[in-house]
Symmetry: C2
Subunit: 237 residues, 2 copies
DNA sequence: ATAGGTTTGTGTCTATAGAACACATTGGGT
DNA sequence: ACCCAATGTGTTCTATAGACACAAACCTAT
């Protein structure tokens, strides 16, 4: 059996005689999370495949022959949002034979967190929309499964690493942070326990400024320590 | 920029005009762990590439055009070991441009745990060897990095799921289990705390049998509850 | 200015888990 | 009969998670 199939060496060297082994396309799909109106959102694009008319899909593209896999995901992010200095993490690779109706495509999923109101953010195309994650029931291809997988990964990571810092303005109240965590986790959290837990992480520094434009007692503003963000970035690689 | 490149749809549909996008080969690499002589081992094969003469590499193969990615890893495992009803988990996908000297290959890594003394185990080739993980310093390609990544994943999972059950005979003493954990983690563990922790998991049932052929007080034998294994398997999918 | 509304900021209690640590018991070997 | 080596077991200390309540601060409306 196996003798009939080339191993990596022969397949790569004798490309011409084994073209069928290069019939698999390689792509990346980016699950780009944002946060707005106390909702976790994800950036989607209208699918242009007939099979999926009316459905949305994640942002993805084929990996170029001379491009690292990770670089491809950064490129997709950059092309679609204009952002490039952003945390991006590989999550899982999806490789079912029939996941793409037009051909065999193996796709590696990444997730990322960007600030919807970042002034650098430059959505390049009017078919792009931020969708509340909660309301998404169906997506093109297997993208709903990819979204779910990435959301689970995000949920696992937010208590370990300060990955969410991109979703908030530079200065924020602890309540805003808690609302963000609740939106991501889909649960409500005890305020006192949440503050204790966050304090233990030593991610934040408290500022001498108060919230403004609130109709109640204003809370102190906080920001992420750059130190915490660097450590978190290095741990990810 | 982007307009010069096909999106997934056009690339997949108009294959003939975009052959360069199918120049990436897709493979799987299996990190197959075993356990023998109180050492964690991994199944390696002598690399047949000149660039890596004398080095060993993981077991991998190209993914076939009509084969799911996961199925490819099961196939590699089956072809190399004869085993098929084994836990296998995707870990990470490695896609650096130059990771393979003979061409562009994106490879998805899986790890697995098999019993070296399983009677069904049938190593198909004499270039295959079980190597103690501890002693491995260098492998072909980026396989050392893949091994390290999979080992980290294994270490994270053993306290959460009873994945190690394949590495032990059906009946085993708690000490044997502890030695296995120590071999995987590369640390020594407190015997009393270890036993408490394992007891909390409720993975094991205690048998009315004692160890034999030991030169000291024999310990009670235990086995994994089939229930625990099923739950663990379902969580993985 | 005063009172009412809403949110901030804080601390205790309980339960559970992890780490450190010691001693009597059992069976085999000599 | 004694020694050896590993089994089997429990307490203390510390840290973390979850449940829970009350006073103080600021805004607003009267």
């Amino acid at each position: 059996m196996r003798a009939n199939h080339p191993n990596l060496k022969t397949a790569a060297v004798e490309k011409s005689s084994h073209l069928e082994y290069f019939n698999i396309a390689v792509s990346v799909d980016c699950v780009i999370f944002g946060y707005e109106d106390k909702q976790l959102k994800v950036l989607l694009i209208k699918s242009d495949l007939e099979e999926f008319s009316g459905l949305f899909s994640l942002l993805g593209d084929l990996v170029r022959p001379d491009e690292d896999l990770d670089a491809a995901s950064y490129r997709v992010l950059k092309e679609r949002t204009g952002l490039d200095d952003v945390f991006l993490q590989q999550v899982h690779t999806f490789g079912a034979v029939n996941r793409h109706p037009s051909g065999r495509v193996v796709s590696t999923a990444y997730y990322s967190l960007v600030n919807i109101h970042n002034h650098k953010l430059n959505i390049d195309c009017h078919d792009l929309h931020w969708h509340p994650v909660q309301t998404i029931k169906k997506l093109a291809f297997d993208h709903k499964q990819i979204l779910d997988t990435c959301l689970n990964m995000l949920r696992e990571q937010i208590m370990e690493h300060p990955v969410v810092h991109n979703l908030l303005p530079e200065k924020f109240s602890l309540r805003a942070l808690q609302e963000l965590y609740e939106a991501i986790l889909g649960t409500s959290l005890d305020r006192r326990n949440f503050r204790k837990k966050i304090a233990l992480k030593s991610w934040l520094s408290e500022l001498d400024e108060l919230e403004e434009d609130v109709t109640h007692r204003p809370g102190k503003l906080h920001k992420f320590k750059t130190k915490a963000l660097k450590i978190s970035a290095s741990k990810k690689n």
